[in-house]
Symmetry: D2
Subunit: 249 residues, 4 copies
C-alpha cells in the first residue's frame, strides 16, 4: 500500500475543482464551506476520501497543468502526449527539443525517451524549467542547456527526433537536419496559419512526408443522468507539423 | 548512417499516398505511372528520395495504421497516444489492459511502460496480436494472455494503471479496483453515449476523479499556397473515460 | 443614405469589443481611454467611424446576443439560423414553437416564415419575450400565447413545421403530430444525450426520417499577419433533432 | 391533407439512405431487396410509409443536396443557412451575390430575402443554375445575370447585403462597397487560409467589424440504444468572412 507522506504533493479533487498541494503539517485547504486539514491526510492511503475531498498521487498531467510555474505559454498535455508518440519515441530513443520554455513538453518527453537534450536561450525560462523539474522530482535522462540551439555544439546524425518550439523556426532547419539521423522525425509547434505556410514553403528539399494537424480535446460533464459536453472548450493551442529527414542518396 | 536492408519494412510516400512494404529483392511498387524497384532501395540510406518516392523507416504509428492485421476495430493512434500518457505511464510503470484486440494500444503501451500485461479471451484476436508484434519486432516487456481477465490470476494492488477495452466493462470494475495500486489510474474506451452513462453510474464508490473526453484530430493539406483542412475527418472513434482508485481509509 | 437617429440602437465596435446602445442625447460610451459622445453620432451615416469606434445598424444577431433580456438560456444564433432553414421555412410557411423562452428563436423564425405561433407557459418568460420584441421593434407575423402548448386550442394539420424547446418533450409528441401538415418537419433542442436517447425511443411510429446533429462554430482572430482560431469556443449548446410527420395511408 | 401527385418530387428514405425522385407512372425504385412502385405512391398522403420506404415532400435542403445538378463545388446548407442570417436578411431585404455557381446559396437567399440579384460570368454555370431553379420550381424574387459583377450596371447604395463567392475577391471590393447601403453586410466564402489572410489585409478602410468563422456540423447515429456520432464528417468546406460597410462621415 502507498500512503501520503509529509512534504509530498497530492492532487485534491472536490466536486468539479482540482488542486495540487504540498502536504505540510499545520496547513489546510478551504473549499466552499469545507476544510481539509493536511494533518489528517498524512499517513492515509493514496486514493483516500475525506468528506467531499478525494486525494490522489498527482499524475504528470496534474503536475504540468496545476503545479508548473509558467513563464511562457506551455504546450498542453493533449498536444505533448501526441507529440511524444508522433516523434516515435521509446526507451531507446534520443530526442532534442528547443526552446525548453517552462519544461512541460520536456517532462513528457523525459517520461518516454531514453535521452533528452533541451535548449533554451532565455536564462529566465531555463531556470524556471529547472525549478519545475526539481520541485516535482521529474526523472528521466534530461540535459538542460541555457543556449540558443543555433550556437550549440551537437553531434551530427545523432538524434532519432527533434522538436522545435520557437516563433521563427526557419533559421534552424538546416541545423535540425544535420543533427537528425537519416529518416528521423522532426516536429514543430506553431500557433498561426501564417507560420505554418512559411514553414511548408521552407521544408523543401530537406524534409519529406510532411503532415500538419491539430489535436482537439472535448470534455464531457460526468453526471450520468445529464451526459453532455462541457459548455466551453479550448478551441486552439497550435498547429502541429511533422516531417522526416530526407537524405541525399 | 542507417541503410535499408533486405527484409526490412519501409514507409513509402508518394505524393499524398502512403505504403508500408517489406523490402524484398525482385519486388516493386507501382503507383500511378511510376515504379519503385526494391532492389534499388536496398542499401540506400533511410530518408532516400527516388523519383517521386520518399522512403523512411516506419514509425510505430505507420506500423499500426498500415501494417497491423486487424480482426477488430483498432484503437487509433490519436487515442492510444493520449491514453498512454493519461494513464501516467513511464519506464517504471506496470500497466494491465484487456481486451488485447489486434494489439494496437498494447504496442503503444509497450513503448512507454516498464511492464505490460494484456488479456484477450478470443483465441483469434490473441493470435492476431501475437503475429502483429512478431512481424514488426515490437519490443517491450509484454505478457500476452489468452484468457478473460475476469478469470485471470493477477496480484492485488500491483498495477499503476489499467485500461479497459471491452463492450461491457461493468462486470470487471471490482476486479480492476483490486489489481490497481491505491490511487492508480483506470481508463475505458467506449463508442456510445449509452455505455458511458452506464459506466458513470457504476463507478460509484470504487473510483473517483472521473473525466470523460474525446480526442479529435484535424489534418491539413500541406500545399503552402493553399493551406486548408482536409475535406473529411474521422468524426468519432470513442469516448475515453478516466478515473482513479479510491481506497477506504 | 441612412443616418443614425436619436433613440435608435447602434452596434458599436471598438477593437475586439462590441456594444449595443440606444443613442440618447447627452449619453456616451467609455471604452479603455476613449469616449464616444452619442451627440456626435446622431445624424452621422450608418457605418461611420469616429476615432476607434465603428458604428453600424444592429443585425438581428447583434440584437439577440447583445440586446435581449434573458430569463432563460437562449438558443444561440448558430443554432437558430440552422433550425429556421432545416424546418424548411419560407415566406409562405406557418410555424409553431414552444416554449418561447426569451424569444431568440422566435425572432429568427419571424424573419423567415409567414406566420409564427409561439407558446410559453411561464408568465415571466412570456412577458420577457414580448418586451424584447417591442424594445427592438422586431416585425413578423407572430402570435404570442402565455399557455402550455399541451392545453392550447390549435387547428389540426395546419403547420408546415413545429419546433420544440422544452425539457421534457415526450408528452407533447402526439399533439405536435396532430397540428403538423402531413410530411411536415419537427425539430427539438435538447442539451443532454440522455434526453436525445429518450426522444429517439419515443419518435417511433409518429415521425420518420430522423436526424440528430450538432452545429459548432469556430471563430478566428482577424489579424492578417497572425491568422489563427480564437483560443476558446463554445463547445456545446444542444443536440438538434429533426424528423418528419408520418401519415397512416 | 396533402397528397403525392404524378410528376412531383418526393424525398424517399429507406433505412439510412435518401433519394430524391420524380414520381412518374410505371417507374420504381429498387433498394437492397425491396421495390417501391411509384404507381402505389401517387395519391398517397405526404409522410406515407410503404414497407420500409418513407416518403416526404422534399425540403429545400433535400433539393440542394440530392437534386441539384452541380458544375461547381456547391455551398453546403450548413454554410448557406448561416450565411442567409448572418447577412441579416428578411422579407424586406435586397441581397446581391456572385458567382451564382450551381445556385445552391441563391436558392436559400431566395427563401428569405425580398429581392435577390445574382451574377455568374460562366455561361455553363449560369444555365445550370437556371435549370436547377426551373426543375424544382424554386420561387423568390431572383434576377439572374450571366455577367461578371465587375462589369455589371448596378445601382449604388442599393443592397442591404452582398455575398461574394469567387476565387479572387480583391478586385471586387470597391464595387461591392459601392452597391451596399451604408452599414450593410458583406460576406465571403473562401476555402484556404491564404485567401482569408489576403482578404483581411485588403478589407482595410472600406469595411469594419470583421469576423471570420467556420461552421462545423456533426451528425449522430439515430439508434437510441447506441447513441454516438457518425464515424466520418465533413471537416472543412470554407472559411466564412463577414464585414460591414464603413462610410466616410
Amino acid at each position: 500500500m502507498s500512503y501520503f507522506e509529509e512534504g509530498q504533493f497530492a492532487l485534491i479533487r472536490y466536486e468539479d475543482k482540482k488542486f495540487l498541494k504540498k502536504l505540510q503539517r499545520g496547513h489546510s485547504l478551504n473549499v466552499r464551506k469545507d476544510v481539509l486539514k493536511f494533518d489528517e491526510v498524512i499517513g492515509k492511503p493514496h486514493g483516500v476520501k475525506i468528506g467531499k475531498f478525494e486525494l490522489f498521487p498527482p499524475t504528470l498531467e496534474d503536475i504540468i497543468l496545476l503545479g508548473f510555474e509558467r513563464r511562457t505559454q506551455i504546450i498542453y498535455p493533449k498536444d505533448a502526449f501526441y507529440i511524444a508518440h508522433k516523434l516515435n519515441l521509446n526507451q531507446r530513443s534520443r530526442v532534442l527539443e528547443f526552446g525548453t520554455g517552462s519544461g512541460a513538453l520536456c517532462a513528457v518527453l523525459a517520461s518516454v525517451a531514453g535521452e533528452v537534450w533541451t535548449y533554451e536561450r532565455s536564462e529566465e525560462f531555463y531556470k524556471t524549467a529547472l525549478r519545475n523539474f526539481k520541485r516535482f522530482k521529474i526523472e528521466g535522462n534530461v540535459k538542460f542547456h541555457n543556449e540558443d540551439f543555433l550556437n550549440a555544439d551537437v553531434p551530427e546524425n545523432y538524434f532519432d527526433a527533434v522538436f522545435v518550439d520557437v516563433r521563427e523556426p526557419l533559421p534552424y532547419l538546416k541545423k535540425v537536419h544535420g543533427v537528425l539521423k537519416p529518416g528521423g522525425v522532426v516536429g514543430f509547434l506553431l500557433p498561426t496559419a501564417n507560420q505554418v505556410i512559411q514553414l511548408l514553403e521552407a521544408l523543401g528539399e530537406l524534409f519529406g512526408g510532411t503532415e500538419v494537424l491539430e489535436i482537439l480535446q472535448r470534455h464531457y460533464k460526468t453526471l450520468p443522468e445529464r451526459f453532455r459536453p462541457e459548455d466551453q472548450m479550448v478551441a486552439h493551442t497550435a498547429y502541429l507539423t511533422f516531417a522526416r529527414k530526407l537524405t541525399p542518396s
